[in-house]
């Protein structure tokens, strides 16, 4: 394989696809940590010129981890629709970019092409996209899903109500949950990250949230984001489970460090279909994020964007209700500052949509990264404009258990009013019936959690 170009009279040659893909990325601390980042801005530009000429079939033939060594590669490769693939395999990455952006290319057409793509093709085209390309491209692709309600319809923006608490106190969680509901957060899921992963604590939170859903007849689903093995035990023991959650990684080795495998996820998915209480047909919820494979030394030398794209291919297998990147969650070693976090957020959302999964985003940062609340508000506006399915709702965006900051109950309300977006239709109806929202705008009753003490 010869991968070479001249740029401003200087020759740049890239030894293989792995290095080319790394060097074509926007600057990211995680790629520098992995030793695959471009040394100079000119080298980055050169890498992109070369990548733009690579045909898609070459990317299919060179997955980040070989087929025989990695079950994530196998899941993605085995799912490729050969008819679709044959139509596009000779496109170059540059041509693919232009096709995606063309006015004649509709969302429906893109959803079809998705079935012929592998993660490496999706990653490659993403590297050639500017930020606005990523927003515009993603905005064409609507991916909706149904569980107890419908997420991801055009013109809607949903919110995960995330009432986390440092010691999982049901009382404290309930108070936060009510606050969020009173702002219209909770149409994606009522989803708690537990501090205690034990069966007894997790099942208690499932019972409590289910009770709130039933009492107030909320068209939504609950989830406690414990390790999937704990949730499986809960399902088997009869706990009321809405969505089944797991963090996933872009390689088999990475997933092993998360204590999971494709077999285990298959089993969880089958149990979900057997035991989850909502209508369905989608019951799975996944979270991802650039850097997790490298963190587990499971990236096989590849850049974090490509490893991230592989997550979405894996997620697609389970026809999930929702998937979100937790962009900026781990820390500055992978995404150094606001600029890198914003870029990665746009990339991940675009890649998820291009894969064909109902993609949302936890737009966030940690206190050891160089970012602030303004940066995350900016990202949320950009993503909402790009058609992002949902964001997180946390009291004032400050998660007192996970120790990071993200989007708030207020942010979802403001984004909806700013960009004329609505909650999921069933949820909006519910809000209207309680007098919390009228014509898409919060009423005077909204923002008062004590409203929910009545029943």
């Amino acid at each position: 394989m010869l991968l070479r170009t001249k740029l401003f009279g200087k020759t740049y040659e890239f030894p293989d696809l792995r290095i080319l893909m790394g060097k074509a990325n926007e600057e990211k601390s995680g790629d520098q940590l992995a030793g695959v980042a471009a040394d100079t801005t000119a080298e980055r530009a050169a890498a992109r010129f070369v990548l733009a000429e690579v045909p898609l079939w070459v990317l299919r033939q060179n997955p980040a981890v070989p087929y025989d060594q990695d079950e994530v590669t196998r899941v993605i490769e085995d799912a490729v629709n050969e008819t679709v693939y044959n139509e596009i395999k000779d496109w170059t990455v540059g041509e693919f970019r232009e096709w995606l952006l063309a006015d004649t290319t509709t969302g429906e057409m893109i959803r079809r092409i998705s079935n012929g793509l592998t993660a490496e093709m999706i990653a490659a085209v993403t590297k050639l996209m500017s930020n606005m390309d990523l927003m515009y491209g993603a905005s064409k692709i609507r991916v909706s899903a149904h569980c107890n309600n419908t997420i991801g319809l055009a013109g809607t923006l949903s919110s995960r109500n995330q009432p986390n608490h440092p010691v999982d106190s049901p009382e404290g969680i309930r108070a936060e949950l009510y606050e969020g509901l009173s702002y219209g957060s909770g149409d994606s899921v009522i989803g708690i990250n537990p501090a205690d992963d034990s069966y007894s604590s997790v099942s208690r939170l499932l019972d409590m949230t289910y009770d709130v859903i039933r009492t107030w007849e909320i068209p939504t689903q609950n989830c406690v984001l414990a390790h999937v093995t704990t949730q499986m035990q809960c399902m088997r023991s009869g706990s009321p489970v809405g969505l089944v959650f797991q963090s996933i990684c872009g390689s088999q080795k990475g997933n092993r460090s998360f204590g999971i495998s494709v077999d285990m996820l298959d089993e969880a998915d089958a149990l979900a279909k057997k035991y989850c209480f909502p209508t369905g047909p989608s019951y799975m919820y996944f979270e991802t994020g650039q850097g997790s494979a490298l963190s587990a030394n499971a990236h096989n030398g590849w850049d974090q964007l490509t490893m991230e794209a592989r997550n979405y291919g894996l997620a697609k297998r389970y026809n999930p209700f929702q998937v979100n990147t937790v962009v900026g969650f781990i820390g500055p070693e992978y995404l150094y500052d606001a600029r890198q976090i914003q870029r990665a957020g746009l990339e991940d959302h675009f890649m998820g949509k291009l894969t064909g999964i109902p993609m949302g985003c936890d737009a966030c940062y940690t206190n050891h990264a160089r970012a602030d609340q303004n940066a995350i508000e900016n990202l949320a506006v950009m993503l909402a404009a790009a058609g992002c399915n949902y964001f997180m709702g946390i009291p004032m965006g400050d998660d007192s258990m996970l120790s990071y900051q993200c989007t708030s109950f207020h942010d979802t309300a403001a984004l909806r009013q700013l960009l004329k977006l609505r909650p999921a239709p069933e949820f909006e109806q519910w809000m209207e019936s309680l007098g919390l929202m009228k014509n898409g705008i919060l009423t005077g009753r909204a923002g008062d959690p004590t409203l929910f003490l009545k029943r």
Binding site: S29, Y178, E179, Y183, S295, S400, Q405, Q417, G447
Partner: protein, 342 residues
Amino acid sequence: MDEARLNAIVDAVVRELLALQPEQSAPPRAETPPAPQPQAAPQVQPAPAQPTRAAAFPAPVLAPLPAAPSAKPAQPAPPSGELRIDLPDPTEAQRRVQPGVARPVNPQALESMIASTTARIGVGRAGPRYRTTAQLLLQADHAVTQDALMRNVDPKLLDEFGLFTVQTRVTGGKQEYLLRPDLGRSLNDDSRRIIAEKCARGANLQVCVGDGLSAAAIEANLRQIFPVIRQGAQSAGLALGTPFYIQYCRVGVLNDIGELLNPDVVVLLIGERPGLGRAESMSAYMAFRPKAGDNDADRNVICNIFEGGGTNPLEAGAVVIQMAQNMIRHQASGVKLKLVGQ
């Protein structure tokens, strides 16, 4: 988890502790600049017993919020017309918990809801956005959190528990520590030698302390948790290894410790990443016979250890002992322990 047994251990250990060192029960304040005496402040009551934010930072306060955005100045202007703004500290605990909801259905219940969590609820709204004081407080907490990130653990505290210090492969200070987690997971050569020299091998329980992402967390909790672990181990009949402190530490360093000392169980007390306005949250990461190549699936964690809203460090110490016994009984940790335990 066997609650009766857990309570028994905690009780016993707490009783012993209190008998031994009655004066040491106050938590160390990691970084408490003298609270400015508010001059024209409404009376500041003693901090409430409910969870409060920021033991490691100046304490919180929400200035009373006007029900409607009227422009009442903090002080009536003197007759001369000269503007005088002289504010009480909005970060004091009492002020932080002041409700901001304009006309709540149930004002009393709102206060107890606010008291039930460290999260920022009952804050009200200005249209779909935050009220002014709440927003400014969020920004202030962010500022103070960032300032607290770069500190080292007070060496006096380490001396108190006879902890000697070793270091990972990080050589370029906190900045390098933040950007190179790989270096923070591996002990440097000197440290390996020192540990091999000074430490007992093959203990049942090896205790290590690491700065992680917050020195303040170690300073806030070590005096509480360490004696409980020590005495809990004794009453549970677990032989303790020689404890030490690891500078620039990541969780993955557990593997090196296991390889060097062959203990049954290693517990690493490590500072979690700091939350907004709170840096005192500590975790105990544990593994059964950790070795090279092990990963997070082979480990367990007890998290959010801090006083006043988190897992109390005394209780956490008892949970550590119980977890260690559990790991030894089942000869496993991590996801494997969960699966055999089911």
